[in-house]
């Protein structure tokens, strides 16, 4: 019976509505229920025409109600839409948007990560009767329609590794990449590789990928989303969300819930609103470029019109990106103008997606610029106009100076030096030859070294200052108390007296070497030459760009407590005379979380280091991740800072990261984790998510040393573990031996 099937579909739609509006809009839902029940009762006895009319009326009622509800959608409703098992998934898109595809990197349950699907797909376009097949690489999270093994689209580290691998393949083949982001977040497990490490590598890879990259967001959960979405063009489905954290997670933090307690629905709703995670918000902030309109109440697999829209939009985006990077300027402009025409059917249009080498470079540069500039408007910088002018002027001056010194002089220095050396040697030989007879006549022989007793038995002049203590001593060293090592039971450590421990021992247990946490000032003041610190960008202040409720007071409180304006300190300093740029992420400022201010300072520091050709050292005193109260403004710092880092590294610098205490979350999974040279101070923890979050999201109880720096070392995340007392020596050693050839002292 045709009408029974249709009624069944309508019942499905009703259930869907019930699912996404739990406990809301009761009268609308009951109206639909009543209509459906009445129809079920009436239809068996009706004639066909009457059934048709009744069905049409019912459809109409459903459509009208859905449209009404669509207008009342709250952000949390959208989150529920996105999470619903009936939501379109990547496989639907592959089947309906592309003309042909093959999954690579495994299929279904038997792949190395079913939550990450890679496919070689083809798009067939016709122009004037000619047929063009255009290959693309599709990378995306596969949520499936509720299959358990898909893990809800949360990709494991090896899934991200797979994605990175195939990005490389696409680059070799020169085909564009379409990335579909359907993830609630990365799977927070530290394994081989670790989650943070792999995401960082992915972001770093994408920051320099030489093929067009189009990302489509449906569900963008922070780190997991960033792992494949550093794209030239970011599209977003109108009912999707893109956020730093799930609303429930934010509510748990806001409500200070512990041990898996659930936040109230009201609080979650409020958090979802305050996080500004919808497509419109993100378009307004500029973190996505375009919204793809979905059908009413979200796209489901039977919305074929929607897939056609998606196809048009991804084609348009790819064409635009390719054209922008390539071709003659006037022609390109004309093409772009034509593309903007909505009526144009892109299936009957053809743009070759091949890019020349120069165009590829331009493409990467444009992508990097796009991300560097993101969230630029949100920075609160209280520096005066004159100050800014001065900065700009000094930057210009540095540019000129560098040109003179490095490009003109240094390049030819070796040749010049060789010539001078040769001439001098010749001159010496000549002198010896000429003066030999004369010296013989005088009977002058070569001087013999006189052994002097004095030299061996009297005081030599020697500056002993290097042997005496630390420049900066923690306040904790003033307390008269004994401190016991947390490992005293296992390792038999004696209790230490606080003044000894925090002053002379530098917070290191004298028996087992456990490092007690110290303030960030310790490294800042003890590991660089005294008096060589010059802080810059001091006027950038951490703010509250989303106007998150109650957050102004918290930020003010953190500022007052630490005496800092943001959680990132950037300065220039010297280590044994070698100039370097240093950024410190301060663990005591809002847990070391990174927001717009911190990200901007970091980017500025990387840029400064690049311009001046200084080594760039980041001391991560501790970080809890991205500052959730800044929402997407925070998340965007991950790709943004990584782009800055990549630019710096590719310019031939030395980027070195040193972790201390606890470092988790976004920063580790992006601009810190992507460094080639990462070291940790002993007893520090490094990871993607803390133990509590892992328990909540995966249900796994981790071992206490799961995040330990030695584990990170064995995972290959970091390159070494340093003793705090040796940081200065090791840094110096690193400056001498690591990094690119473009450093000023090379």
């Amino acid at each position: 019976m045709e009408w029974e099937k249709q009624l069944h579909q309508l019942a499905d739609r009703l259930n869907y509505i019930k699912d996404i509006f739990p406990g809301k809009h009761a009268e609308d839902i009951s109206e639909l229920e009543n209509g459906l029940a009445a129809a079920r009762e009436r239809f068996p006895d009706c004639a066909a025409a009457e059934v048709q009319a009744g069905l049409a009326a019912l459809e109409d009622l459903f459509f009208r109600t859905e449209c009404r509800l669509e207008d009342k959608l709250t952000p949390m409703d959208k989150v529920r839409i996105v999470r619903h098992p009936q939501r379109v998934c990547l496989r639907d898109i592959l089947e309906n948007v592309y003309d042909n595809y093959t999954e690579i990197g495994g299929q279904g349950e038997h792949t190395n990560d079913p939550a990450m699907v890679i496919a070689r797909a083809y798009i067939t376009r016709k122009r004037n009767g000619d047929v063009y097949h255009q290959p693309v690489l599709v990378i995306g999270h596969e949520k499936g329609h509720g299959e358990e093994f898909r893990n809800g689209g949360s990709a494991k580290p090896w899934g991200n590794a797979k994605a990175k691998h195939y990005m490389g393949v696409a680059e070799t083949e020169g085909i564009p990449i379409h990335a579909y982001v359907f993830t609630p977040g990365g799977y927070p497990l530290e394994d081989y590789p670790g989650a943070a490490q792999q995401i960082a590598k992915n972001i770093y890879e994408m920051a320099g990928l030489t093929v067009p990259l189009i990302a489509v967001f449906s569900e963008g959960g922070s780190g997991g989303a960033e792992a494949i979405s550093l794209a030239d063009r970011r599209l977003m489905l109108s009912h999707g969300y893109y956020s730093v954290i799930s609303p429930e997670g934010a509510a748990a933090i806001e409500g200070r819930l512990r041990g898996g307690a659930r936040a109230s629905a009201d609080l979650v709703e409020r958090c979802a609103r305050d996080l500004h995670l919808t497509a419109e918000d993100n378009l307004k902030f500029g973190y996505v470029d375009k919204i793809i309109q979905e059908p009413v109440l979200g796209a489901r697999p039977y919305h074929y019109e929607f897939f056609r829209t998606v196809r048009q939009e991804v084609l348009r985006a790819t064409d635009e990106v390719v054209l922008k990077a390539r071709g003659l300027a006037p022609l390109r402009a004309a093409m772009l103008r034509r593309l903007r025409d909505r009526e144009l059917n892109l299936d009957e249009f053809f743009v070759s997606w091949k890019l020349s080498r120069a165009a590829r470079q331009r493409l990467v540069e444009m992508r990097q610029n796009k991300f560097i500039k993101a969230s630029y408007g949100e920075v609160r910088n209280t520096r005066s106009v004159m100050g800014r002018l001065g900065d700009a002027w000094s930057e210009q001056w540095w540019e000129i100076y560098n040109r003179l010194i490095y490009d003109l002089y240094q390049r030819n220095r070796r040749t010049f030096g060789n010539v001078v050396e040769e001439v001098r040697s010749e001159w010496e030989m000549f002198k010896i030859r000429v003066l030999k007879p004369w010296n013989k006549l005088r009977g002058k022989t070569e001087e013999v070294a006189v052994t002097s007793e004095e030299e061996l038995t009297t005081l030599s002049d020697w500056d002993e200052n290097s042997r005496s203590g630390w420049n900066w001593v923690s306040k904790k060293a003033r307390e008269d108390r004994a401190v016991s090592c947390p490992y005293s039971a296992q390792r038999g450590c004696m209790d230490m007296w606080a003044p000894d421990l925090y002053d002379e021992f530098a917070g290191v247990c004298s028996t087992c070497g456990h490092h007690f946490p110290m303030e960030y000032q310790w490294v800042m003041n003890n590991c660089f030459d005294e008096g060589s610190l010059y802080e810059f960008n001091t006027e950038v202040e951490a703010g509250n760009p989303l106007n998150f409720p109650d957050f102004d007071a918290k930020i003010a409180d953190a500022k007052q407590k630490t005496g800092l304006k943001s959680g990132c300190i950037t300065f220039e300093a010297r280590i044994d005379g070698v100039q370097c740029v240093v950024a410190i992420l301060v663990g005591s400022f809002r847990g070391g979380s990174v927001g717009v201010a911190e990200g901007s300072k970091f980017v500025a520091a990387a840029d400064r280091a690049r311009r001046k050709r200084y080594p760039f050292i980041v001391y991560c005193h501790g970080t809890a991740g991205i500052r959730i109260q800044e929402g997407t403004h925070g998340v965007i710092q991950m790709p943004r800072c990584t782009v800055a880092v990549r630019r710096y590294i590719e310019a031939g610098g030395l980027y070195l990261v040193l972790y201390d205490t606890k470092s988790y979350g976004g920063p580790v999974a992006s601009f810190l984790g992507c460094a080639f040279y990462q070291f940790a101070i002993r007893s520090s923890d490094i990871g993607f998510a803390g133990p509590g979050v892992i328990k909540n999201t995966t249900g796994i109880d981790i071992a206490p040393d799961h995040h330990n720096c030695y584990k990170a070392l064995s995972r290959g995340h970091i390159q070494g573990v340093w003793d705090r007392r040796d940081v200065r020596v090791n840094l110096r050693q690193a400056l001498e031996t690591m990094g690119g050839r473009n450093l000023y002292y090379r």
């Binding site: 052994t451 002097s452 061996l456 009297t458 020697w462 008269d480 004696m494 007296w497 003044p499």
Partner: protein, 473 residues
């Protein structure tokens, strides 16, 4: 001196006994500690006898500063005497004791002095800065290979000039200690090799590449100057010299003679009296310079041709303090250096000058130890059944071993060094003291057995053998 002070004796064995006796003599109260292994030790018995049960505290380890300070607070102690060993030369302990909220008097030098003189490089530089002779060589860590080689070459040539047939250079890691990272170079051409080896070792072990290069002095006598000063640190006095050249393997002293040389009965190849005078004057100068404010020992080596070199300073009372006391008289009275240390340490002025101190006779101290000199001085483990000696007016014996009998033997604790007793013998001259010493050792009864029923082994025979040539080169 304030007699209300209460002294925590943070040590065991013979020195604890001596400190208790000194406190008793000075009329001071004391608190004593012991560990489970030391329950039957003589110092516990004596503490019980002199101070009563409440002056005794049982602790888990003599090394645990927290526990000791808790006991000091609990018992209301106002001063700490560290004895020798354990915390005696630990400047951190001294600093903690004096700088904690409930501060105590540390009976010993102030912590800065301990720190400065505990560092050999620092001591050497201090000595050179006031013209005290030190071993030729560098007085600072050398980091540069070329410079190191230059110093080594100069040292070789210097030794050849001095008429040393087989010059030796010592390369040591400046951050090392306890014999780690030291090598001799006898062929200057192998210097670089050795230098690099030591440097790499030091880099690995101590994270510091610095290397010291010194002349290796062979064939020398080990002399010490006993210095005492009050808290003002301005007028130190000395209690003569000691010769501690007779040592076991591993450079542990076994027999000490005071004074250091005896020119009246032995012919030396140099002016021995002048050398003794020189080293005492240098020691006092240096003590004055650093403001030394307690008892301490300046250690010297004197080569066969009479060149003294300062080696190091021991900022503590030493085991062999009794032998210096035995040959000294202050204003004609006998002197107890430990009592003097406590008295001055608690703030008393010295009350006499160098002119009031006179020396007479020769003293020798035997360290009687249960060990086997024939197999590398390995400590002997077991029970003591009998330990008796003859009381003589020229002999004094300090021991913590309680009177033992075959029915009630004393088990030597294995956790500590096996020192049993110090026998201090005095004689008018060297011949007499040798005779007295042999007499003393002859009449010493030391018997025991271990678990297998084997008889006790001790170094008495070794000491007898060494008595005959105790002051000769």
């Amino acid at each position: 001196m304030n007699r209300k002070h209460k002294v925590l004796i943070a040590n065991r064995g013979e020195i604890a006994v001596r400190i208790m006796q000194a406190c008793k003599k000075l009329g001071l109260e004391f608190v004593s500690v012991y560990t489970a292994e030391d329950v039957s030790s003589g110092h516990v018995a004596l503490a019980r006898e002199l101070g009563g049960e409440k002056s005794l505290y049982r602790i888990s380890s003599y090394h645990d500063a927290n526990e000791l300070l808790c006991i000091a607070d609990e018992a209301g102690a106002t001063a700490v005497h560290p004895g020798y060993g354990f915390f005696a030369e630990d400047f951190r302990f001294a600093r903690r004791v004096t700088e904690r909220e409930r501060s105590l008097v540390f009976i010993g030098p102030s912590w800065r002095v301990i720190r400065d003189l505990g560092d050999k490089i620092n001591t050497k530089r201090l000595a050179r800065s006031i013209g005290v002779p030190t071993v030729p060589g560098s007085d600072r860590p050398i980091y540069d290979e070329l410079e190191a080689e230059k110093v080594a070459r100069t040292l070789f040539e210097y030794q050849l000039q001095q008429g040393i047939a087989r010059p030796l250079v010592l390369v040591k890691a400046s951050a090392g200690g306890g014999g780690m990272g030291i090598e001799e170079v006898y062929d200057i051409d192998t210097f670089r090799q050795v230098y690099r080896r030591i440097r790499n070792y030091a880099m690995r072990q101590f994270k510091d590449e610095g290397v010291l290069i010194e002349q290796r002095v062979t064939d020398f006598n080990h002399l010490e100057v006993q210095v005492l000063s009050d808290r003002s640190g301005r007028n130190p006095v000395h209690f003569g010299t000691r010769n501690c050249s007779i040592q076991s393997t591993g450079r542990q002293k076994r027999l000490e003679v005071a004074p250091g040389f005896d020119p009246s009965s032995i012919e030396y190849g140099f002016d021995a009296a002048a050398v003794l005078d020189e080293i005492t004057q240098h020691s006092l100068n240096m003590a004055r310079k650093v403001g030394y404010d307690s008892v301490g020992t300046w250690e010297w080596i004197v080569t066969r041709d009479g060149h003294p070199f300062l080696m190091e300073v021991n900022t503590r009372i030493q085991v062999e303090n009794g032998v210096s006391a035995a040959i000294s008289r202050v204003k004609g009275q006998e002197v107890d250096l430990i009592a003097e240390q406590i008295r001055t340490g608690l703030g008393d002025a010295l009350g006499y000058t160098q002119d009031d101190i006179t020396f007479h006779g020769v003293g020798v101290e035997y360290r009687i130890i249960a060990e086997d000199p024939d197999s590398g001085f390995a400590p002997w483990v077991g029970d003591i059944d009998r330990f008796q000696w003859e009381e003589r007016d020229w002999c004094r014996l300090h021991t913590h071993v309680p009177s033992a009998s075959p029915e009630k033997p004393y088990t030597i604790p294995t956790e500590f060094d096996p020192n049993l007793a110090l026998g201090i013998i005095w004689g008018r001259d060297l011949a007499e003291v040798s005779a007295n010493g042999l007499d003393f050792l002859e009449h010493l009864v030391l018997e025991g057995h271990n678990g297998k029923g084997e008889p006790l082994k001790s170094n008495v025979e070794f000491l007898k053998k060494k008595t005959e040539r105790m002051l000769r080169f």
